[in-house]
């Protein structure tokens, strides 16, 4: 995962409904993540795309998150965040209002610890008093303005220890390097191969490579599909034996990738070796020789013997 995705993935993890070793201060206080990449209407006809929108049903508070991949604050963007209308957020996220309080919202920025000072300065220059969630290697802390939710403020009263990098939910965007697209597209081609697919369109390939593709607006989706197409071309160049790239035509307005030499057509040993060969062409991580395992077989009971026969077959397969 690129370092610039750590802030957004960190905030997502802090809302997670599933327990991991990552802390969940927003979830623990009662906030739920309602949207990613939500275009938030501000003013009469302006928008600001919020990276994340959280909502706490018990007091009708929204949090708009801007996860900074770098160290610069776009002052105009920050100013627009200040104009976000909580009533519009209710309509856009379609949350149910059950508490008596009027809906409110607060913008919260997030960044890497190494960018903390510059982001704080940028927010100051933009005259925006937002809390900043600063993600370090070993802890996360809140700096800048106070949260307007006392429970959340208490949660961030002192730095919260982190166990390591956050789960990688968002791993590529249109600014990602070619190699980052290769890392998600090549495995998808292998997955298609293992399903005995004869060919796959770049559109399907993109949907299966980028599981969150459908949350982006059309223009961004098209751009991402183009990047996936380019990665598919590189895959075909790296492994001509298994992948053939066919560009779009007059009658087929999208490129496809033909798959051949399927490992699934081979016996188990040949199949494993073929997959390992594809892996070595695509990368990267060296694979060692496979040590044989010899295990003692035992038993003299009727029922045991029957089970052992099955397990013996399983062990042969593993070797």
């Amino acid at each position: 995962m690129e370092e610039r995705f750590i802030p957004i993935n960190a905030v997502i993890a802090m809302y997670s409904t599933v327990q991991t070793s990552w802390p969940r201060p927003f979830y623990d206080v009662g906030y739920r993540l309602e949207a990613l990449e939500l275009p938030v209407v501000v003013g009469d006809d302006d928008r600001v795309p919020a990276d994340l929108v959280g909502f706490r049903p018990s007091n009708n508070r929204f949090l708009l998150h801007e996860a900074k991949s770098g160290a610069n604050v776009d002052e105009d963007q920050a100013a627009r965040y200040q104009l976000a209308d909580p009533l519009w957020l209710v309509r856009a996220t379609k949350v149910n209002l059950t508490a008596d309080e009027e809906p409110t919202c607060q913008t919260v920025y997030a960044c890497l610890r190494s960018h903390e000072d510059r982001i704080l300065l940028g927010l100051h220059q933009a005259d925006c008093a937002f809390p900043l969630v600063s993600v370090g290697d070993s802890d996360v802390r809140a700096v800048g303005a106070d949260f307007n939710d006392d429970d959340l403020a208490a949660m961030f009263e002192s730095p919260i220890p982190l166990p390591g990098p956050p789960p990688g939910i968002i791993v590529v965007d249109i600014e990602s390097a070619d190699e980052d697209f290769d890392e998600i597209v090549f495995p998808t081609l292998v997955a298609e191969m293992s399903l005995r697919t004869d060919d796959v369109s770049v559109i399907v390939l993109a949907e299966r490579s980028i599981s969150y593709l459908n949350i982006y607006p059309e223009g961004v989706r098209r751009h991402l599909i183009k990047r996936v197409e380019a990665a598919a071309q590189r895959a075909a160049q790296a492994d001509e034996q298994h992948f053939e790239f066919r560009a779009a035509t007059m009658t087929r307005p999208y490129a496809i990738i033909k798959l051949s030499g399927n490992p699934e057509d081979l016996d188990p040993r040949g199949r494993t070796q073929r997959y390992q060969a594809i892996a070595s062409r695509f990368q990267t991580h060296p694979r060692p020789g496979i040590a044989a395992i010899q295990e003692a077989l035992f038993d003299d009971l009727d029922l045991e013997r029957e089970l052992s026969l099955a397990d013996e077959d399983e062990r042969e397969e593993e070797n």
Partner: protein
């Protein structure tokens, strides 16, 4: 063939014990067509009961009970090895058919109140663990006190990782249903003898019910994205499932090599990114089912991103095989997952 005849066959004396294999299936409603597609139209026959089919192949005669739409029982008195090979071949060919992969706690809980007659453990971590550790441990303990001996080893911090149940036998008596002896292995093969087919089926059903809850718990946590409008924006559903090792792995490198070797038991293919001595990210493929999967690994944990629509059996299989080859004490961080993985009463014990 019908269920009465099945019961009669179970009770009749035979030189070969009764076997029930359980497979996880995705037949999508048309069970007969699915069986014909998997095993060949000539191999499958209808019976008096629409939820029972018979399969024939060379020397094999198998009765398939597909009353449970997802977990099918394959009953036979034919050779265990030949039946296993026959079913394994079908599982290998298909992406909609898999074995059931019982975690140790599920196996241990086959019959809650009755101590097992014997237990076998089988841990084979030689590819992953260094030579100065317990790399392999196969133990057979006979007697009703078997579990207490294994518990003794499990409490040894340096050796707990090497306890992974692979088989056990339990005698089951029920005041209403009678008596059976069941030997069970970790891929849900039940070898049975006794007087009550109904009791045998009950034992199988209870094991499958616990396993189903585990698989469905994993599926309920699967990671998905749902668009909220044409202009962009979406909701996130679920999250990654994190598994914690009972102690830090001594070395990540051999673990990754084994995990991503594309061969049994894990059958994972993957590209490694951001690898260091302590952490790695993997964009991979579960070759058992052809599903994309993302895994993040450190020496302390393994985080699996099961995608929405993915099969929870992927998680169960991974956990069972990690217990067998890496760490018998692995657990899930999420409470519900851990509850279903450990089976509540075992956790309490």
């Amino acid at each position: 063939m019908n269920r009465k005849q099945l019961e009669s066959q179970f009770r009749s004396p035979d030189t070969s014990p009764w076997k029930t294999f359980v497979l996880e299936t995705h037949a999508d409603g048309d069970d007969a067509a699915f069986l014909a597609d998997v095993f060949g139209s000539g191999a499958s026959r209808e019976t008096d009961d629409r939820s029972l089919h018979q399969l024939f192949s060379s020397d094999l005669s198998i009765t398939v009970d597909h009353l449970d739409p997802r977990f099918w029982s394959f009953h036979t008195r034919s050779s265990t090895a030949a039946t296993y090979a026959f079913l394994k071949s079908a599982v290998a060919r298909r992406r909609d058919l898999d074995f059931v992969w019982l975690p140790s706690a599920h196996l241990r809980r086959v019959q809650r109140d009755t101590p097992p007659n014997w237990i076998k453990t089988n841990f084979t971590g030689r590819r992953v663990l260094p030579a100065d550790e317990v790399q392999e441990l196969s133990v057979m303990v006979r007697g009703r006190a078997s579990q207490s001996l294994l518990d003794l080893i499990s409490r040894q911090r340096d050796h707990a990782h090497a306890i992974s149940l692979s088989q056990l036998e339990v005698a089951v008596a029920d005041p209403d249903l009678g008596y059976v002896v069941e030997a069970v292995n970790r891929t849900a093969l039940f070898v049975a003898k006794g007087e009550s087919f109904t009791l045998h089926e009950l034992v199988v059903q209870q094991v499958v019910s616990r396993y189903r809850r585990l698989v469905e718990a994993a599926e309920s946590l699967a990671l998905g994205f749902e668009p909220v409008g044409d202009e962009g924006g979406g909701r996130i559903l679920g999250g990654p499932i994190e598994l914690r090792f009972s102690r830090a792995l001594p070395d990540l490198e051999p673990f990754l090599d084994d995990l991503l070797s594309s061969r049994e038991p894990f059958r994972l293919w993957g590209m490694v990114d951001n690898a260091s001595d302590d952490y790695a990210e993997i964009e991979g493929v579960d070759l058992h089912v052809g599903q994309r999967i993302r895994i993040e690994v450190s020496r302390e944990m393994l985080r699996v991103h099961l995608r929405a629509g993915g099969c929870g059996n992927t998680i169960a299989r991974l956990v069972a095989n990690l217990q067998h080859h890496v760490d018998g004490g692995i657990r899930a961080v999420d409470d519900r997952m851990n509850w279903e993985l450990s089976v509540a009463s075992v956790v309490a014990a």
